[in-house]
Symmetry: C2
Subunit: 197 residues, 2 copies
């Protein structure tokens, strides 16, 4: 049988992504990853180095997917609610990434790819500021703070799901549509001029 080294790599990385997302860097064992992939543990070390390097490799891959999937800015902000709704959708459909980023954020140290992410956020802030000048958005709130709050509006549900469940009494899947509607509505109330509500 011919070797399938790329397939082996891929299966190992998929298993690693799932395990890291589920249990975090400290809670994940290399043996479990290998077992989940059906590959011997030694392959992990040969292909990816040690555990830390494997985690960074997984995170880098997921960030690349995010960058590829993120639509470029420039859209209108008239329907600011949909912006928040799409952020909500993205988190809902990429639970592994959200959890990986949370774990990465909780670990002390500088965020990965800080420069690019800062630039990306600043783009959004500038676009919001322009929309405020045009009267499309209310200028009640500082643009940077508004962007930050809008992201939080959507991401908060995934950041502390246990609190969401205690408050609403519903699971994330059952409550998806209602939660999304709430995010959209809240974003509109925060950002739109009173007249456009």
């Amino acid at each position: 049988m011919a070797w399938d080294t790329e397939g082996t790599r891929r299966r190992l990385k998929e298993a690693a992504t799932a395990e890291f997302a589920s249990r975090g860097p400290d809670g994940t064992t290399m043996a479990r990853i290998a077992e989940r992939a059906g590959i011997n543990k030694e392959r992990l070390y040969r292909y990816f180095g040690d555990k830390q390097a494997l985690f960074e490799s997984v995170l880098t891959d997921e960030l690349a997917k995010l960058a590829a999937a993120t639509p470029p800015p420039g859209g209108s902000f008239a329907d600011i609610g949909e912006f928040a709704g799409q952020t909500f959708d993205y988190h809902a459909s990429h639970p592994e990434l959200a959890r990986l980023l949370q774990w990465e954020g909780l670990a002390s140290g500088t965020p990965v790819d800080q420069a690019n992410r800062t630039a990306h956020y600043q783009d959004k802030v500038r676009a919001v500021a322009a929309a405020q000048r045009d009267g499309v958005l209310d200028d009640d709130l500082d643009p940077a703070q508004l962007v930050f709050t809008l992201i939080g509006l959507a991401a908060w549900w995934f950041s502390v799901p246990q609190i969401a469940k205690m408050l609403t009494g519903a699971d994330a899947e059952d409550d998806y549509a209602r939660r999304r509607a709430c995010v959209v509505r809240a974003a509109q109330r925060l950002a739109l001029p009173p007249g456009r509500l």
Copy 2:
């Protein structure tokens, strides 16, 4: 020298709180906690049981402190902005709490002290629902979702401080007053009837 068992307990718990908040349950070692407190490791096990029990004890304490510091329901919600502002203040002076809650959210398993917390949240939801019926608060949003979102408005800044910094370009301390004002204003826009803004 007389025994100071309460002092020992307290020092151990303070050390455990700091370590857990900083490194998470898996990243924290019992030996480090003991060393930080200047107390022998065995005291941890005698007083608190195993690591899991210690973590739950720490989190329960922090939640109790938060509940005690949050104004009891029944007060008027006309100044809903101040409710959010006080939540913000609390997190600002207890930065460990947000991180502990995030780690709890990432860990699989049932939340700590679920019954009490659920009851506490339901109290808040009922109070908000009543205020909505009275017209003090807008009934645009579901009361449970509104409470969840208001908590998020305040806590989000402390959940992802690195994103806050990337967006605002300022450190938490320098930006405290502006951030608090933003939280208060956002809470008002979310919860108050348009006429009362």
